[in-house]
Symmetry: D2
Subunit: 140 residues, 4 copies
């Protein structure tokens, strides 16, 4: 992906890319694709009934990651509180999905990779949150 | 829309629909459509340069609302913290977009209607949040 | 929803709303919500293994409907071929999902309502397609 | 991204990955991110009024690419016609957006990169379409 390269060309950004945020964008899109793929692979397993909660968390995580990736892509006139709240939701959705996928990681390779992608995205959200200027609004 | 009717048919829900959450789902999808429409109408105005921040907040709000509507639609095995965090992001995105649109409401009818839809969705998120069982995780 | 009301306020549209397209927008968002809800309800059924194909088609249909609703919302400088191609994909995704849901409609009320929403959206796409000015590009 | 790696773990796919389709998935998510970024960068330019059509096509292309990436990710029980119709819409949306961005490529680096990403995704869709088993339904 070329999120960092693109963000660098933004007229308000030139020369001052927030690398943590750019990495978070890429992690979000990657995690969304992996979660959508894991949900579909789980649906193809014979023991699908044991994977129902995994599929649901995959779907939630995919949706939250996509929107988070889009919000973090847009520099949105410095609307830090919305970015913060969305990345916080994303960090949580990734943590939940990872914890569930980890339980199936030995049996299902797709769950193992998905847990990995979710943990990476969780960390990327945390790092991006730490990189943002302090906002008072989003603290609640 | 028929969000409430659909949620009522869910095998885990039958008979115990959370009406505030169902209304929130409908408000989210409605607000997403209105925001996407307002962004496009703003792009068609001659004074587009004055509406740049409005367009950005419209786009953020549309994306956050869509994902929030999907997350709140899914009953997700009781994963309340993710729903909470996502609805909180949505409440905030709606409040920001409404505040911006209200400034253009006299000049642009699309901004007036959009501000209205955002305020409705903001309230619907707040009501849905109040209706959820307390979770400790999402309090942070 | 207020798609038609919003589209009427667009500076390039005033007074000449394409009602079929506006209805299609609302049908797309409605169908997306219903499909997402049906997928989640199917995941909650004991016989989930029999509903795997239904869940997949629900997910596809929800995604295609959301994007179609957004594309049809934007008047996009008259870019008719893209709207056409997207609405054609939507008409097809709805027809497939409806055909599958109809097979489970007697057993599962959520599938019955979902089939209904998909058929409505399929028709709304067809009517919207018929209402568009002829484009040569999209004929292929 | 790890679309190909994930698709390889799908229980119905093991050992027979359609590489063209996997590449198309990655191109779709990449192009969606780039288009969302280009729309936001265009909104930040002083001559935003000249970039209105570019912003609209960016938004359409981003939405169509995201859904196409999700549809192509899901192996959907062999529902080839829906994948075909969606990839055809995507090929077209990318071509339109590329043609517009190419006109601004000398002035705006974000448009230059975006045109590149759109052309790559257009090709990836075409290659993926050629790799699919023939379907009669989607030919119309």
């Amino acid at each position: 992906m070329r999120a960092e390269q693109m963000i660098a060309t933004h007229p308000h950004v030139r020369g001052e890319v927030n690398t943590a945020l750019a990495r978070c964008v890429e992690a979000c899109f990657d995690c969304a694709q992996v979660c959508a793929s894991c949900a579909d692979a789980c649906l193809g397993e014979e023991m699908v009934a044991e994977l129902v909660q995994c599929i649901r968390l995959n779907m939630d995580c995919a949706d939250v990651c996509l929107t988070s990736g889009l919000i973090a892509t847009r520099r949105s006139g410095g609307d830090v509180p919305v970015i913060e709240a969305q990345l916080r939701a994303c960090e949580l959705a990734c943590a939940r999905c990872a914890a569930e996928c980890e339980q199936h990681a030995e049996k299902h390779e797709h769950c193992r990779i998905c847990a990995e992608a979710c943990r990476e995205c969780e960390r990327a959200c945390r790092d991006a949150l730490a990189s943002l200027p302090r906002s008072s609004t989003a603290a609640h």
